[in-house]
């Protein structure tokens, strides 16, 4: 089946078998390997991408379902060579150890902060409850999202690039 879809703002087309999973289209066909495959059973959230702005597990969506739609992967967070403030926050707060869950945490956190610019800790923990971190790094992941919320809320220096948020 021939499909068109927009990934990180760029139009792509591909010939796909209906059974091809979205995560495999992203990684193996489009070669965007920032999106990870973790459990492959809809549990861990490492493969989280945004589908029309909402975070979903891309191991549990067929690529054909994304035709004509907008997909955002972790590669789409950086804008004009500048990391997104959420990515900066994960660095500042040591929000990752092995890094396996990080792309999923970033995509979930990014979509969450758009809807909840001033979140409570409880809301953050609720939002990331479908993303597993096996380094037990949740404390620092929560801190990172709080850090990013503060950075995004702060007045920006004139002329500074603001990334995708």
């Amino acid at each position: 089946m021939h499909i068109h879809l927009t990934v990180n703002g760029q139009l792509h087309e591909a010939d796909v078998e209906p059974r091809l999973l979205l995560v495999h289209l992203i990684r193996d066909v489009l070669r965007l390997t920032g999106t990870h495959i973790g459990c492959d059973t809809t549990h861990c959230g490492a493969c989280t991408v945004l589908l029309d702005g909402r975070p979903v597990k891309s191991c549990t969506v067929f690529a054909v379902q994304a035709r004509g739609r907008h997909v955002t992967t972790v590669e789409g967070l950086e804008q004009d060579g500048q990391l997104h403030p959420l990515q900066e926050a994960f660095m500042a707060e040591h929000g990752l150890q092995c890094g396996y869950c990080t792309p999923g945490m970033l995509m979930t956190g990014y979509a969450f902060l758009k809807e909840h610019p001033r979140p409570t800790e409880e809301e953050i923990r609720w939002a990331i409850s479908g993303n597993l971190c096996r380094c037990t790094g949740y404390v620092n992941i929560v801190k990172s999202i709080q850090h990013a919320a503060a950075a995004l809320a702060a007045p920006r220096p004139a002329g500074a690039s603001q990334g995708g948020a």
């Binding site: 089946m1 078998e17 209906p18 059974r19 999973l21 492959d40 059973t41 809809t42 549990h43 959230g45 989280t48 589908l51 909402r54 975070p55 979903v56 597990k57 191991c59 549990t60 969506v61 067929f62 054909v64 379902q65 979930t108 609720w126 939002a127 409850s129 479908g130 993303n131």
Partner: protein, 290 residues
Amino acid sequence: MIPAAFDYHAPTSISEAAGLLASLEDAKILSGGQSLIPLMKLRLATPRHVVDINGIPGLAYVVESAGYLRIGGLTRESHLEESPLVRERHPLLHDTCRVIADPLVRNLATVGGNLAHADPANDHPATMLALGAQVVAAGTRGERVIPVASFFTGPFATALAPDEIVVEVRVPVPPPLSGGAYLKVERKVGDFATAAVAVQLTLADRGVCERAGIGLTNVGLTPIKAERAEAALIGRRPDDKAILEAARLAAEAARPSDDLRGPAEYKRDLIRVLTARALRRALERATAGR
């Protein structure tokens, strides 16, 4: 894990979808896909045809009209969770949609799919049994309304004909002095219930229980309506004695089995404890503000 090959169909109307389902051999409906796709990846399901209904417009909504909360079959769980109408007026439903799977799954999973899949471990079935909901099914011969109490016919089996799609779920708008609650014990977020209980109560003006609905999740081969427990409450003042009696009868209605989530007796006792707690919470909500 790669699913077996299938032919993909993307109808854009209910009649087109029903026609495909009627004519294709071995077809499955793809709604949210959050149960179907994992099953296909594990090759527990290997349909020859997949009929993706997500392109049918007008099936995602949450509105109140003519005495019913009407939920479109393609409504995502996250839509239900974020609906102020559900939060303010349908607490049992609000409790339920917040504990289904996890927030990412809820962005795709649909209410219609949760019912039509008829997994006894799914959360909506018990809730809809407690609420006395109706399922609206559309097929090649038009629409019909199925009371949810006769919808679940066996494990993963429903009263739906092969060409029928769940297009709407109707929940009666609760009268004044009504309240409900869903209590679920799960090992972790995203797990199926070890056991869960849905309760919906309506009190008469003098404080007597006028209507009681009690549904049980994942303690049998189908979702269970605890009818003797319901009957024990109706016409009585829901005091501690009545609550404990109903909780005991709900536990008797459970048919749990031993598995990795625990032994049968543990689950049966969970039903007893959760029923009593859910009844107390439902009562608090029914009488809040009085």
